[in-house]
Symmetry: C2
DNA sequence: TACATTCTTTGACATTTGTCAAAAGGCAGG
DNA sequence: CCTGCCTTTTGACAAATGTCAAAGAATGTA
C-alpha cells in the first residue's frame, strides 16, 4: 500500500505524476527514489485566496503543485484579464512562458481559494536531474504527456464551437463550475462572459 | 565550421534541433555524438506530392524531418478536412496523437509538394535513449521548447482575432502562402476559406 | 492550345459571438 | 438584517464569421 509508506504529499506527488502519464500502476512507472527526492525539494505554503503565486514582469522560477484549492494563470489584454490555465487539486501550475526560457513573464498566477500549495524550484529540479541523469526519462515522459494535452486543447479551438468547448469542459472537469467564476471560465474557453451565460441557458 | 565535418542531413538535424531550442551556439547545446547517433537512425525517402506519410486509424511509429518540401497534419470533421499542423524544411512532423500514446491516430500526414523526408523510428529513438540515458536531457529540452510553442498557439486563439492570427502567421512564416493552399491555411487558423479570402482583401 | 480540374474569390444572407448598458442575484462584513 | 460589492443574467444592437452557390483564376495534362 502506497499510503502506508508515504506522507500525504508524497502520495499526492506520485499520483499527480501518474495521472499526467495516464498510467494506472504507479509503482511500474515512477521509481520511489525519484518521488522521494522530488518530495524533498518541495516547500509547502498555506496561502489565501487572491494571493499571487507569480506576478507578471518577473521571471518565474517555480512550479506549483496544488494540494488543496484552485489557481489560474491569466494576463491582461487591453484591460481585460484572460485566463489561460486553471489547475485544481493534484495538478501543476506555473508561468509557462517564463519558467523554461527564464524570460520575464506576461502571466500572473493567482489563487482562487484559500489554498495549500507545494512549490518546486525549477533550478533545484534541474540540479537534481543533473545529479541523477537517469531521472530525465521521467521528465521526458511527463513532458510528452503535457505536450499531447496541449495539442488536444489546440484541436478544441480548431473544430469545436463555443458551446461544444463548454460541454467538453463540463464533462472533463465538472465541479470546476462551482469553484471558478464564470468570467474566468469564459475567457479560458476564448469567449465573453455574456456568451457563456447564453450558452448555459440553451438546451 | 560545422559544414566541413557533416553531411547535409547531419547539419540539418543539428540546425533543426538548435532552432527548436532557440539557441544560437550549436556546439554548446547538442553534443556531436548524439547528433551522429540520431543521424544513423534516419531513413531518407523521396516521395511525391499527396503521398501520405501517415494514414488515420493506424498507429504512428515515426517522426518525420522535412529536408525538402512541405507537409501538413490534418483530419476530417464532418466531411471537411482540417489542418492542425504545417511543417516545411528543417521542421518536424508526425501524428502527435499516436506516436507518444501508441493509440490509433485520427490524423493523416500528407506531403504538399514532392519532398525529401527523413524518417526517425520512435522505437529506435527510445532504444537509443535506453542505451544512452545521458541523451534524455536533450530530448527534454526539445520537448520543453515544443510545449512552450504549443502554449503560444493556444494563446493565439485566446486573444487574437482571425485577422491578427493571419498577420502573425504571415510575419512568422512568410513564404508559406505561396506553397500551401489557402484552404489549408484557413483551417489551420480555425476559420473558413471564404473568411480568409476576405481577410486578405481588407487593409 | 484547349480542356478539365482544382483553387480562390465574390455575393447574398444566416448564424454566432461581441459590446455596452442595466438589472437581478448572491455573499460577506458590519 | 441590512448594505455594499462582486458575480451573473438579460436586452438591444453591432460586428465577425459561417454557409451556400456561383463565377473567376490558376494549373496540369492531353
Amino acid at each position: 500500500m502506497v499510503e502506508l509508506i508515504c506522507s500525504p504529499s508524497f502520495t499526492l506527488l506520485l499520483i499527480t505524476i501518474a495521472l499526467k502519464m495516464n498510467f494506472n500502476n504507479l509503482s511500474d512507472m515512477i521509481p520511489l527514489d525519484l518521488a522521494s527526492e522530488v518530495l524533498s525539494l518541495l516547500e509547502t505554503h498555506h496561502l489565501p485566496k487572491k494571493h499571487l503565486l507569480h506576478r507578471e514582469g518577473r521571471i518565474c522560477r517555480h512550479i506549483y503543485l496544488i494540494q488543496k484549492g484552485v489557481a489560474r494563470t491569466f494576463f491582461y489584454k487591453e484591460g481585460k484579464d484572460i485566463t489561460v490555465h486553471i489547475a485544481a487539486e493534484g495538478e501543476l501550475i506555473t508561468a509557462i512562458d517564463s519558467v523554461i526560457s527564464l524570460k520575464r513573464s506576461r502571466y500572473n498566477v493567482e489563487l482562487l481559494e484559500d489554498s495549500e500549495v507545494h512549490a518546486l524550484s525549477y533550478q533545484a529540479l534541474h540540479s537534481l536531474l543533473e545529479k541523477h541523469p537517469h531521472y530525465e526519462k521521467y521528465m521526458r515522459l511527463i513532458l510528452e504527456q503535457l505536450y499531447a494535452e496541449g495539442a488536444d486543447r489546440i484541436e478544441e479551438f480548431l473544430f469545436y464551437s463555443a458551446k461544444e468547448r463548454y460541454d467538453n469542459l463540463m464533462n472533463n472537469k465538472p465541479g470546476l463550475l462551482n469553484r471558478v467564476n464564470l468570467g474566468h471560465i469564459a475567457s479560458y474557453l476564448g469567449i465573453t462572459q455574456e456568451t457563456l451565460s447564453r450558452i448555459r441557458k440553451s438546451p
